[in-house]
């Protein structure tokens, strides 16, 4: 007795089956496992032992974890605005659509296409104090990656360098989507290009700002490859981003339970930040130009 509804349900679930399997097994189940793991101690070699809230206590009072969170916060605070500003500037230049723009636009995306790991290894050479490209050009050693004040800005700069072209594309699309009539009308009203940029272009880019900052924050919070290859956590933990410290805790210090706690804290923070951003922007994005 297969009514259309039953058939539809069977078809629907049939089509969904593989992805459902994937989502449950590889996304939902791990979340449960990580919560479970956070209450156990395991060094990968010995038995898994229940320790209750010990890991939580130990991680939340551990100054190096606090440092890691702080460093990540600082990193995001540098990278996301910088990406946005530079991306916007590049998009503004590209939006003029001067001849040859297509080439530039394509060129800027190349760093984003490459693997962050390979890019970091490449920059490692460029920044190397001995035999590195910059040091050779400048004629003297500059300790880019081991100076405590320089290390985080430099790692941030590499990340921004990677992402600007990609971010610019989104802004470019946003700028080009603004109907020319609006600009034409404003020009008739006597607005110059700067005013038009501030009063028309920017506000209409709010959805893009939203998208770019949410995705920017989430991805910046998970930067791992760059830290792994450039500084390994940096001089005295100055570049110990949280994704890297989770890895180091799990596979270097072999404290899987503590790493699980750190991962959960990261998760909670990211969810919180995303929700806050949603709320902030929801009130300000109102229109759709259809």
């Amino acid at each position: 007795m297969s009514t259309p509804r039953v058939r539809s349900a069977l078809l629907g679930y049939g089509l969904l089956a593989p992805s459902l399997f994937g989502v449950v097994c590889f996304l939902l189940l791990p979340m449960l496992v990580v919560v479970w793991l956070s209450m156990y101690r395991w060094d990968l070699l010995g038995p898994i032992r229940y320790v209750g809230l010990d890991n939580w206590r130990s991680v939340l009072t551990d100054p190096s974890f606090g440092n890691s969170l702080l460093v990540t916060l600082l990193f995001i605070a540098i990278v996301v605005p910088a990406q946005i500003l530079l991306g916007l500037a590049a998009a503004a230049m590209l939006a003029r659509e001067l001849p040859g723009t297509g080439v530039f636009r394509a060129l800027y995306v190349i760093p984003w296409i490459c693997s962050p790991l390979a890019v970091a290894v490449l920059w490692r050479w460029i920044l190397a104090p001995t035999d590195g490209a910059i040091s050779t050009l400048a004629g003297q050693r500059i300790e880019w990656l081991t100076d405590p004040t320089l290390a985080l800005p430099v790692v941030s700069a590499v990340t921004v360098w990677t992402n600007v072209g990609y971010v610019a594309l989104f802004f470019l699309a946003g700028i080009l989507a603004i109907p020319p009539q609006i600009h034409a009308a404003a020009r008739i009203d006597g607005a110059n290009s700067w005013q038009r940029f501030w009063r028309i272009t920017l506000p209409m880019l709010r959805p893009t700002f939203f998208f770019v900052s949410v995705t920017g924050v989430v991805s910046a919070a998970q930067v791992f490859d760059t830290v792994y290859a450039l500084t390994g956590g940096g001089p005295a933990g100055r570049t110990d981003l949280v994704a890297h410290s989770i890895y180091a805790e799990a596979f270097g210090a072999a404290a899987i339970g503590r790493a699980a706690v750190m991962a959960l804290v990261l998760f909670v923070i990211l969810v919180g930040v995303t929700i806050v951003q949603h709320l902030y922007f929801r009130r300000r994005i109102s229109y759709d130009l259809t």
Binding site: L37, V109, I126, A128, D131, Y166, A173
Partner: protein, 273 residues
């Protein structure tokens, strides 16, 4: 008020500066990779290679990079194929079929978008270990094979906007679901499919943390892990290391160069949604 020509010149200057900043590191590393190790050690690092040599690249072959390339390519191909296929099926179900629990399930999928990759690495590792799948090709591939909530989300948006008439017409012609998908939905979704293919290929080719953790030794080592390993084993032998980064980077740059217009347009289209 600056004349258009002056402001154009300024714009070009800005674009050029940005272009140089973007390309210079790659060019420099390419230069280093074709310099012989001898010359690099004895001369100044940025001098032109005379003569340029491919010795660093052949050394990479000895270091197992050939295999790493194959493993990476295979893994990327299989995951892309699987992910796109299963995501299309799921997105079609969400977009075009009516059944109990459909919306609830969809929000479940969307909720998992919040789960950062970093958080799942440790538990996934444990699960793979328990199943005895450590250091196997399947461990590399399984977590990503069955569709991606991100792709499903984007595809569903796209599929919903396909005009009903098209689909109804096909059904009237006696098309079953598979036909509808292949003949109507997919052709109408080429831009988004291109974008997703690109995004999947790029993110799998460049994947590092998961392969690092789940594989070891030479057998299933992917390109990123091989590069990192080379960098630590031959630390400060920059000519060799730069050859490795070039090998890791060039395939995607080539892919990009070929499909560039399409790709850029696709990213833009995604962003607009």
């Amino acid at each position: 008020m600056t004349s258009p020509r002056r402001s154009n010149a300024l714009i070009y200057a800005g674009l050029m500066v940005a272009a140089v900043l973007t390309v210079a590191p790659f060019a420099l590393s390419l230069l280093t990779s074709v310099t012989s190790a001898q010359q690099f050690a004895t001369g100044t690092p940025l001098s032109l290679p005379s003569p340029p040599t491919l010795s660093n690249y052949t050394a990479l072959g000895d270091a197992g990079f050939g295999r790493a390339l194959m493993v990476t390519a295979l893994m990327t191909a299989i995951i892309t194929l699987g992910q796109l296929t299963f995501s299309v099926l799921a997105a079609y179900a969400f977009a075009r079929l009516e059944f109990r629990g459909r919306d609830g399930l969809f929000w479940l999928y969307v909720a998992t978008l919040m789960v950062p990759g970093t958080v799942t690495v440790v538990p996934l590792y444990l699960m793979m270990a328990e199943m005895g799948l450590r250091n196997t090709f399947w461990a590399l591939v399984l977590p990503f094979l069955f569709g991606s909530p991100y792709a499903i989300f984007l595809l569903r948006e796209y599929f919903r906007s396909i005009p009903d008439d098209l689909l109804n017409a096909a059904k009237l012609d006696g098309a079953n679901t598979l036909d509808v998908i292949v003949h109507v939905v997919l052709p109408a979704s080429k831009p988004i499919l291109a974008t997703l293919t690109l995004i999947t290929v790029v993110s799998q080719w460049n994947s590092f943390m998961w392969p690092l953790v789940i594989t070891s030794g030479e057998r299933w080592r992917v390109l990123t892990v091989a590069t990192a390993g080379l960098q630590s084993q031959y630390n400060a032998q920059w000519t060799l290391v730069m050859a490795a980064t070039t090998v890791a980077i060039v395939p995607l740059v080539l892919l990009f160069a070929i499909f560039q217009r399409h790709i850029v347009r696709s990213i833009v289209v995604t962003g607009l949604k």
